[in-house]
Symmetry: C2
């Protein structure tokens, strides 16, 4: 919108933030001199996500995405400077915009619960994105920053400092991602992993035989890892790591707030 006369957008921080990012933020009014563009950054990202959802992130190559769009491989490089940039935008699109707070979620705690749960569900539909969320440095993409904004809003009335708010946000999102990274690997490759998981208890039993990992051995002989494969079929009455961890984390914040 407003372009400051002397301070051009990308002029102060030279080449620090890629052009595709500016497009993603809608900050790029293209003068459009040459031929009409045949593709869209959105379209490219969408196609790439479709491939990732269907066949996993490792199936996403520049040539594969281009084929999906009926374009040549190199055409994509007119929209994205590098594959990493594309991946960054894929992750942003995968997490999507934050889900608006329901009306009955008043107070920081319900708001944060909503935030964490909604984020978890967004990522659950794009499992490949989980390890990549934090892989591109501090968040710079629209949706990622919108999520951050929502968590800051949730904590707005707590009187916490910004450093503290960000730290709480980090604690909760860390929980989401670490729990999901386990779930993800179980679901992404159900065939292989279920089989592997079925043997996981046995494996742990074998490697703890020598008694050098006593606490783990106790857990194993107690049967803590016996039903992992059953869980995959019947997730009904399974212990919910995520909910438990989330409640502990929020309890900790509540205690800090003197509640």
């Amino acid at each position: 919108m407003e372009s400051d006369p002397p301070a051009d957008a990308s002029a102060d921080s030279p080449a620090a933030f890629p052009a595709s990012l500016e497009v993603a933020w809608g900050l790029r009014d293209r003068p459009h001199k040459g031929p009409k563009r045949g593709l869209t950054l959105d379209g490219i990202v969408t196609a790439a996500i479709a491939v990732a959802d269907a066949e996993g992130i490792e199936a996403v190559s520049m040539s594969r995405v281009a084929k999906e769009l009926g374009a040549s491989t190199m055409a994509l490089y007119r929209y994205v400077a590098t594959k990493d940039e594309l991946v960054m935008l894929m992750v942003d699109a995968a997490i999507g915009p934050p889900v608006p707070l329901p009306a009955d979620a008043t107070g920081w705690r319900p708001a944060l619960e909503h935030w964490a749960t909604a984020m978890r569900e967004s990522l659950l539909t794009h499992l490949w994105a989980i390890p990549l969320v934090a892989a591109h440095g501090p968040p710079v993409t629209p949706n990622q920053l919108a999520w951050l904004d929502q968590s800051l809003q949730a904590l707005a009335d707590t009187g916490l400092g910004y450093d503290e708010k960000v730290a709480v946000s980090l604690l909760v999102s860390g929980l989401v991602r670490s729990e999901l990274s386990l779930v993800a690997l179980m679901r992404q490759d159900p065939a292989g992993t279920a089989q592997r998981l079925a043997g996981y208890g046995k494996f742990l039993a074998r490697v703890t035989e020598n008694g050098r990992l006593p606490a783990l051995r106790a857990a194993v002989t107690d049967g803590a890892f016996d039903d992992l494969d059953a869980d995959l079929a019947d997730e009904a009455d399974e212990f919910d790591d995520f909910a438990f961890g989330l409640q502990r984390a929020l309890d900790g914040v509540a205690a800090y707030l003197g509640e």
Copy 2:
């Protein structure tokens, strides 16, 4: 092909866990029929880690590691079935064995504090390993399981169930990794990232100009992101996200325990 005489170690769980893993656990008594082996799994992993430490994980290729050892690329495949296996073992070696509890750390809380801090410090010396810790499914390598064992030990006297202990462990390790993944990206590429970080505050100011991310905008105008680049030079009185998050998480566990 492979010939499985009787009940070989890997016969119960067929092909579920790779042979190199058995070697890492010291469960492989090699009959050693052919010529003497010129390399060691340990040596390969050590060389690979040296490359990763010096030049980053992306510099680790099979041929690069082989060159480091004065061997041919394909020689490595006599010790490791796939590059992914090598990476898994690299991560295990990178986190190292858990640091023994100091004598004065009695009770679950000091023990968990020690656990989290020690893990953080281990990973700090091998930043490339951070995104990879959870990338290979549930932990199966010796050191990773030893860390898990230590956390279970820390919680042994709390009366928590194993599910709950594991969930607490996940909460804390999630915090460690998510905080580190930010730190990592700042340090790994100091030149580029410091420059990028210097512009981060300005960038956030620009994209929040339209007022659509009000909480974030408030934080930005409040100067919460202004000193990020200064932090790199002078980390003295910087707010410690990790310590703050850890205390909140442990407070939450304490509350659950009725303490």
